[in-house]
C-alpha cells in the first residue's frame, strides 16, 4: 500500500469530498495562499479558487460564521490556526455552535467541521502549544476527533464531512509530516470506535494523538522486559468507545490513561473515573493518569520536555503499576 503523510491524507479527504459535494468550502487564516499553517491544504491549492479563502484575523467570526453557513445549507470547514486561538473566538463555539440546535428544539443541522493543529512542538511556548480538547468534551454540543495516523485522519475526516453534526478535529503539530499506509480505495471510519493499535495483556494504555505513538514506543521497550501493554487509540473523544476500554481492562486489570494536555482535570480523569465506576472489580491497581505538568508550556526545550509527557512517563507508570 502507498505511504503518504498525515497532512496529505487530510488534504485528500477534503479534496475528495469537495469534488463530490459542492456545498463544502473552507477558510481560515493563511489557508489559501500558503495551504494552511502546517500545509494540510497543499493539495487543494489552485483547485477550488472560490471555495477556499483567507480571512482577516477575526476568530469570533471565523468560528461563528461556520454556524451561519451551515444553517443556510453549506458545509463549512474552518481551520483554526492553533488550538490556542480557539480562545479568541470560543464563544462562537461554546455558546453558539454547541447550543443552538438544542436551544431551538432540534431545528437545523450543523454540518460543519472545525479543524487545526494543537500540541507541543519545537519550543512554541505557552501561547502556541496547548491542547484543549477537554473543554469540548466537558461542554456538550460538539463531537471530537483526534486522529493519530494518516489512515485514521483520512477515514475520520471523510466521515466528518458527511456528518450532520458539528465536529472539531485536533491534529497534533508533530504528526503532519509522519507517514503511514493509506489505501487508494475510499473508506470511512465511524466516530466512537476505538482501535487497539497493539494488543497486550498486562496493562491497558488509553491514549490519542501523539501519545499513541509514545505508548507504542513504550510498549516496544517494555516488551523487552516482559511487560505487555495493550495500546488503545480512542480516535474520537465525543463519543468515546467505553466498551472497548472496559473489555480491555477486564483482560489486563490495569489501566493507564495518557494524554498530552494538562493532567489536572484533563480528559484522562473522565476515562479513569468512568472505568473505576464501571469496572471497579476488575482493577488490580489504581488507574494511572499521565498528562502535562500543571504549568503553561515553557520555551526552553529541556523544560518543555520535562513538562510534556512522553514514553518515559508511560514506562515509569507501567512499572509502578506492576510493582517493579
Amino acid at each position: 500500500m502507498r505511504n503518504i503523510s498525515y497532512a496529505e491524507a487530510l488534504g485528500e479527504a477534503i479534496l475528495e469530498e469537495m469534488e463530490r459535494d459542492d456545498t463544502i468550502f473552507t477558510y481560515g487564516e493563511d489557508v489559501a495562499k500558503q495551504g494552511g499553517i502546517f500545509g494540510a491544504y497543499k493539495s487543494l491549492l489552485g483547485k477550488f479558487p472560490n471555495r477556499i479563502f483567507d480571512t482577516p484575523i477575526s476568530e469570533e467570526v471565523i468560528y461563528g460564521s461556520a454556524l451561519g453557513a451551515a444553517l443556510v445549507g453549506m458545509r463549512p470547514v474552518v481551520e483554526f490556526h492553533f488550538a490556542d486561538f480557539l480562545f479568541t473566538g470560543i464563544q462562537s463555539i461554546t455558546l453558539q455552535i454547541e447550543k443552538i440546535r438544542y436551544m431551538t428544539g432540534g431545528q437545523g443541522k450543523l454540518h460543519l467541521v472545525l479543524r487545526g493543529p494543537d500540541g507541543v512542538s519545537n519550543s512554541a511556548a505557552a501561547q502556541h502549544s496547548e491542547s484543549i480538547e477537554t473543554i469540548f468534551m466537558h461542554i456538550p454540543g460538539i463531537k471530537i476527533i483526534i486522529p493519530s495516523t494518516p489512515y485514521d485522519i483520512k477515514g475520520l475526516m471523510k466521515t466528518a464531512l458527511r456528518s450532520d453534526d458539528p465536529i472539531i478535529c485536533f491534529e497534533h503539530k508533530s504528526l503532519y509530516a509522519t507517514k503511514g499506509e493509506v489505501p487508494e480505495e475510499e473508506y470511512f471510519i465511524p466516530l466512537g470506535k476505538a482501535e487497539i493499535k497493539k494488543e497486550g495483556k498486562d496493562i491497558t494504555v488509553v491514549s490519542m494523538s501523539r501519545m499513541v505513538h509514545e505508548s507504542l514506543r513504550a510498549a516496544e521497550e517494555l516488551e523487552k522486559e516482559g511487560i505487555s501493554l495493550e495500546v488503545i487509540d480512542l480516535r474520537s473523544l465525543v463519543p468515546w468507545d467505553k466498551e472497548t476500554v472496559i473489555r480491555s481492562v477486564q483482560k489486563t486489570n490495569r489501566l493507564i490513561v495518557a494524554h498530552e494536555t494538562w493532567r489536572r482535570a484533563g480528559w484522562g480523569a473522565e476515562i479513569a473515573s468512568t472505568i473505576q465506576e464501571e469496572a471497579f472489580d476488575f482493577l488490580d491497581a489504581p488507574i494511572a493518569r499521565i498528562g502535562a505538568r500543571n504549568v503553561p508550556m515553557p520555551f526552553n526545550a529541556l523544560m518543555q520536555n520535562f513538562v510534556t509527557p512522553n514514553k518515559e512517563n508511560i514506562i515509569i507508570e507501567a512499572k509502578k503499576l506492576l510493582g517493579r
Binding site: E59, E60, L71, G89, R101, T104, P239
Partner: protein
C-alpha cells in the same frame, strides 16, 4: 403617500401585533405564569416591522435577546411563540429555549440570541453561504447599541465589507444597554458613524418612523441583493420598558420615559393613518379586536399545550445521537 392602503395598514397591524403580544407576555410574567427572562421590544416595533416589510420570505435574519418583534414581523407564529414562553412542547423550541432563544429556521429566523453580539458572526456565515450558493438572498442582522461595543461587531462588519456580503446591519439604538446609558459607554455620537471603519454606507434614521425605516432598509436590502455590499443602519429609538420585565429601572427618570411614550411609533403611525384618512376609527377598532382575539387564542393554545416530559431534555443535541452517554 405612494403606497397601497393595504401595505400601510399592514405595517400598523404588524406593529400592533408585536405590541399586544408583548403586553400580554409582560402581564403573564408579572402574574408569575412565565419563567426566565423576558426583554420587551415595546416602543421599538417600527424597526422590525419596517425592515421586514422590505425583505423577501426567503431572506434571513439574526435577532437578539429582545427578539419577539423580529420574529413576529418575519412571519412567526404567535401561538408557537407564546407556547415557547410558557416552556411548552408545542413551542418553537419545544420548551428548550424560551424567550431568548426563539427561532424558526424555516422562515429564515436564525435565532434570537442571549449573547450580546452573538448573532453577528452567524449572520456573516449566512452571508458567506449565500455568496457561495449564488442565490440572491439577503441577511439582516439586528443588534443593539450595547452590542456595537463588542468585538463581534467590529469583526463582523469588517468581514462583511471585505467579502461584500449581502448583509444589512440594523443597529437598534434604544439608548440603553441594560442599566448603562449608551452615550456613556460608546465613543461615537451616532453608531452609524462607525460605518467609515468598514467602507460601507452608514445611515442614522428615526427608528420610530415606520416609513423612514422601511425606505432606508429597502434601499440597503436592494443594494445587498444586487451585490452592492453591506450597509449599517442605525435606527434611533427608545427602550420604554425596563431592560427585562421586573427591572426596577432606578437608573433613569420617569420623566425621560414619559417623553418617549409621546413619541412611540404606533401612536404616531395610527395618527398619521387617521389624519391622512387612509384608515377610519372603525377600521382601527376592528384590527385591534382581531389582534386581541389572535393573542387570546395564542395564550389559550399555550396554556392548553402539554408540558414536556423531563426526559425530553436528553434529545435534540445532535442529529445523530446514538450512543451518547447523557
Amino acid at each position: 403617500m405612494r403606497y397601497s392602503k393595504n401595505f400601510l395598514v399592514s405595517l400598523y397591524q404588524t406593529m400592533q401585533k408585536i405590541r399586544k403580544f408583548e403586553q400580554s407576555a409582560e402581564q403573564l410574567f408579572l402574574e408569575g405564569k412565565l419563567p426566565g427572562f423576558i426583554h420587551l421590544y415595546i416602543g421599538e416595533e417600527a424597526i422590525a416591522t419596517g425592515v421586514m416589510a422590505a425583505l423577501n420570505q426567503g431572506d434571513y435574519i439574526t435577532s437578539t435577546h429582545r427578539g419577539h418583534g423580529h420574529m413576529i414581523a418575519k412571519g412567526g407564529d404567535i401561538k408557537r411563540m407564546m407556547a415557547e414562553l410558557f416552556g411548552k412542547t408545542s413551542g418553537y423550541c419545544k420548551g428548550k429555549g424560551g424567550s431568548m432563544h426563539i427561532a424558526d429556521f424555516s422562515i429564515g429566523v436564525l435565532g434570537a440570541n442571549g449573547v450580546v453580539g452573538g448573532g453577528l458572526p452567524i449572520a456573516i456565515g449566512a452571508g458567506l453561504g449565500i455568496k457561495m450558493k449564488e442565490t440572491n438572498q439577503v441577511v439582516v442582522a439586528f443588534f443593539g447599541d450595547g452590542a456595537s461595543n463588542t468585538g463581534a461587531f467590529h469583526e463582523s462588519l469588517n468581514f462583511a465589507s471585505v467579502y461584500r456580503l449581502p448583509i444589512v446591519f440594523i443597529n437598534e439604538n434604544n439608548q440603553y444597554a441594560s442599566t448603562a446609558k449608551t452615550k456613556e459607554t460608546t465613543s461615537v455620537q451616532n453608531i452609524s458613524d462607525r460605518a467609515v471603519s468598514y467602507s460601507m454606507p452608514g445611515i442614522t434614521i428615526d427608528g420610530n418612523n415606520i416609513i423612514a425605516v422601511y425606505e432606508t432598509a429597502r434601499e440597503a436590502i436592494e443594494r445587498a441583493r444586487d451585490q452592492g455590499g453591506p450597509t449599517l443602519i442605525e435606527a434611533k429609538t427608545y427602550r420604554i420598558k425596563g431592560h427585562f420585565v421586573g427591572d426596577p429601572t432606578k437608573y433613569r427618570e420617569n420623566i425621560e420615559v414619559n417623553k418617549f411614550w409621546e413619541n412611540e411609533p404606533i401612536k404616531i403611525w395610527e395618527k398619521q393613518l387617521l389624519d391622512s384618512k387612509i384608515i377610519t376609527d372603525k377600521e382601527i377598532k376592528k384590527i385591534n379586536e382581531e389582534l386581541d382575539a389572535q393573542i387570546s387564542e395564542a395564550i389559550l393554545f399555550a396554556e392548553n399545550s402539554s408540558d414536556p416530559i423531563p426526559e425530553n431534555a436528553l434529545s435534540d443535541l445532535f442529529v445523530d445521537d446514538a450512543g451518547y452517554d447523557y
